[in-house]
């Protein structure tokens, strides 16, 4: 079945033509301050008073076309500010609420209203906020551990100012009756894969339940970014989830640019888009190889790996690094692609990939293994706020490739309907073809290196005074939101800069953070546990992006 190719749907709520139009109906709830393009540039910001948070969140959750993209907190001592990021085709909306104020929430019963009861997509974020900031939703429901390991948590610094709180029930003990047992797997798993723990509840073959523990790789990236200049931080940001280095780096750089009120040169923005599509291509090839390995088709794996290696060499020829590290930076890009090399080498590599995909789709034993495996419904994807090929394979047309360079070169979103592994595979193949078209279009429009200089002390290209003269302007403290469509889904970043332009708070939300929560649902849909590696390959997430 061929995947559907849809143009970006103009799904506007009644009468809304801009984000302001989406937000206007909220004014009837009272107690809001709406700031046009807001303190958080890149998004419309709505300051919501604590007592209105529940009503506002309910209204937004019920607005068609709006999905929760992220929720996080920031330490603005003595208060903690809770922010929810909502995504719409027209743009992003950020609601800001101060908690722990004198007129704020009752902290004995909880810190803030039970948002995940209204928006199930917020549950993992509530757990993370509790670990880091010590405030919790007023449900009394057990929260899971997300980032901090049980045996070392007391030693680890938090992002918030409240003294460390041990999270409550860590993945509440399963009642396993006589027929099912819990099989602990990991964190050291099979060869060449990241460390990850599965608690697999099975009756022998079928997956009754599956929970994941990702804290073994928690490196505290957000904590480590504080106090760094944007350029210093960019080095660590692209290594938060290295397989999405371009996407996460772009989202972060865009957030910094929004906070400083600057924009990259248009040719640099197109360079970013070329790098992003190259990243998508090699990731989809790697996912194909992993699918073949999981299904035991060694010849298919070899074919996909040949394509993958060729694509990585194209990356090295075009941008000087197989995984495109060091290309995107705050203000623009550090290098232009070698357009001649790219035009020469890319078609052959993509052809290799296309033929491998075609051969796989004609191998019945392979296709049988993927069909009806790891099914997610559109309803599950919508409820959990999933992104990327995982969501698009259930029919949801979510894609963060809008604005910036995409104004001239719009993206055709590839979706499928079945929501199984085969659908995700088909979406990836469709997207690979679309990526080739986009790269050609951006190269034709012209790609160059270049950075808009950041009005930040000592952060010009060349570091402390090597290239351009050091900038003496001081940037006022600002906040900004940035986004990019990584191969595994929308990557978001939000930064708050201090008066010196250094990072006061950086929030990184790679695509993996949204999608791991859909993994157990996909595994539980009438699968046997040998299907788990196949489903994992079709999601193609990383543990590093979740644990950062």
């Amino acid at each position: 079945m061929t995947p559907a190719h849809l143009p970006i749907p103009p799904s506007l709520p009644q009468g809304a033509a801009t984000m302001d139009g989406v937000v206007y109906p909220l004014t009837s709830l009272g107690g809001l301050q709406i700031r046009g393009s807001g303190t958080t540039r890149g998004a419309v910001t709505v300051r919501v008073l604590a007592e209105n948070l529940e009503a506002v969140t309910s209204t937004l959750a019920g607005t068609p076309g709006l999905r929760l993209a992220d929720m996080f907190a920031a330490d603005d001592s003595p208060v903690t500010t809770l922010r929810l990021v909502w995504a719409h085709d027209l743009g992003y909306l950020v609601t800001e609420t101060e908690t722990e104020t004198e007129t704020g929430f009752d902290l004995e019963g909880g810190g803030y209203p039970p948002l995940s009861s209204i928006v199930p997509a917020a549950f993992v974020e509530e757990c993370e906020i509790y670990e880091q900031f010590g405030i919790r939703p007023a449900t009394g429901q057990a929260l899971d551990r997300v980032m901090l390991p049980p045996h070392a948590a007391h030693n680890l610094p938090r992002l918030g100012h409240r003294s460390p709180q041990p999270p409550g029930g860590a993945n509440a003990p399963h009642t396993v009756d006589g027929q099912a047992f819990e099989f602990p797997f990991g964190p050291v798993r099979q060869v060449g894969v990241e460390s990850l723990y599965y608690g697999l509840v099975t009756s022998g073959e079928e997956v009754v339940d599956l929970y994941l523990l990702t804290w073994h790789k928690h490196r505290g990236v957000e904590w480590r970014l504080r106090g760094k200049t944007p350029r210093e931080a960019a080095f660590l940001v692209e290594r938060a989830e290295g397989l999405s280095a371009v996407a996460v780096g772009w989202a972060f750089s865009a957030a910094v640019e929004a906070a400083l009120g600057i924009e990259p040169p248009p040719a640099a923005a197109r360079t970013r888009a070329v790098a992003l599509e190259l990243e998508r291509l090699y990731n989809h090839a790697a996912a194909m190889a992993a699918l073949c390995q999981a299904t035991g088709l060694a010849v298919g794996q070899a074919a996909a790996e040949i394509a993958l290696e060729r694509l990585l060499r194209v990356n090295a020829a075009a941008f000087g690094h197989r995984y495109l590290f060091g290309v995107v930076e705050p203000g623009g890009v550090s290098r232009a692609p070698d357009a001649d090399a790219l035009r020469r080498e890319l078609p052959g590599a993509c052809d290799e990939l296309r033929r491998a995909a075609g051969a796989l789709l004609s191998t019945n034993s392979f296709v049988d293994r993927l069909e009806a495996c790891g099914i997610l419904t559109g309803e599950q994807a919508r409820r959990l706020g999933l992104v990327g090929p995982v969501a698009r394979a259930t029919g949801l047309p979510v894609d963060a490739r809008r604005a910036g360079p995409y104004d001239e070169v719009p993206v055709t979103i590839v979706t499928a309907a079945a929501g199984d592994v085969l659908a995700r595979f088909n979406v990836m193949i469709g997207e690979a073809a679309e990526s080739v078209r986009l790269i050609d279009a951006f190269l034709d429009a012209g790609t160059r290196a270049g950075c808009t200089r950041l009005p930040v002390k000592g952060d010009g290209p060349g570091g402390t005074g090597g290239g351009s003269p050091p900038c003496t302007e001081k940037a006022g403290g600002g906040t900004g939101l940035g986004w990019a469509e990584s191969p595994r889904g929308e990557a978001l970043a939000w930064v708050a800069l201090d008066e010196d332009g250094r990072i006061a708070r950086a929030r990184l939300r790679p695509g993996s953070v949204r999608n791991w929560r859909g993994f157990d649902d996909a595994c539980r849909s009438r699968n046997v546990f040998t299907d788990i590696p196949i489903i994992e390959a079709s999601f193609w997430l990383t543990v590093a992006g979740m644990a950062r």
Partner: protein
């Protein structure tokens, strides 16, 4: 399966002969820097130390200490002092002694 077998034969062998023979694709790889001591002043060395995001450069006394093990070949030092820094072209860097990866680069640029 006969289809895959024939396909594989048609595709041919792509395997490298490395390490028996050099592999040309190595020329595409980013490599750690090599330094030019005569272009290196103490001020330039201090700028390089400040700009390295991975802690590979330090200057405890009158020489620049370069820890190849920490280098990510990001190129920021070359960008900061293009006269004094150039790609080394070396990617075969494995070492059984960690200390063999720490190199001392003299600073000869202070002539005036």
């Amino acid at each position: 399966m006969p289809f895959w077998f024939a396909r594989g034969l048609r595709r041919g062998v792509v395997t490298t002969h490395y390490p028996a023979r050099p592999d040309r694709s190595a020329a595409l790889l980013p490599t750690p820097p090599a330094f030019r001591p005569r272009q290196l002043t103490r001020a330039a060395a201090d700028r390089l130390v400040a700009v390295c995001p991975s802690g590979a450069l330090s200057r405890p006394d009158d020489a620049l200490i370069f820890d190849v093990g920490r280098c990510t070949a990001c190129g920021r030092c070359a960008e900061a002092a293009p006269d004094a820094v150039t790609p080394s072209g070396e990617f075969e860097l494995a070492s059984t002694a960690r200390s063999a990866l720490v190199k001392k680069i003299p600073i000869y640029g202070e002539t005036r």
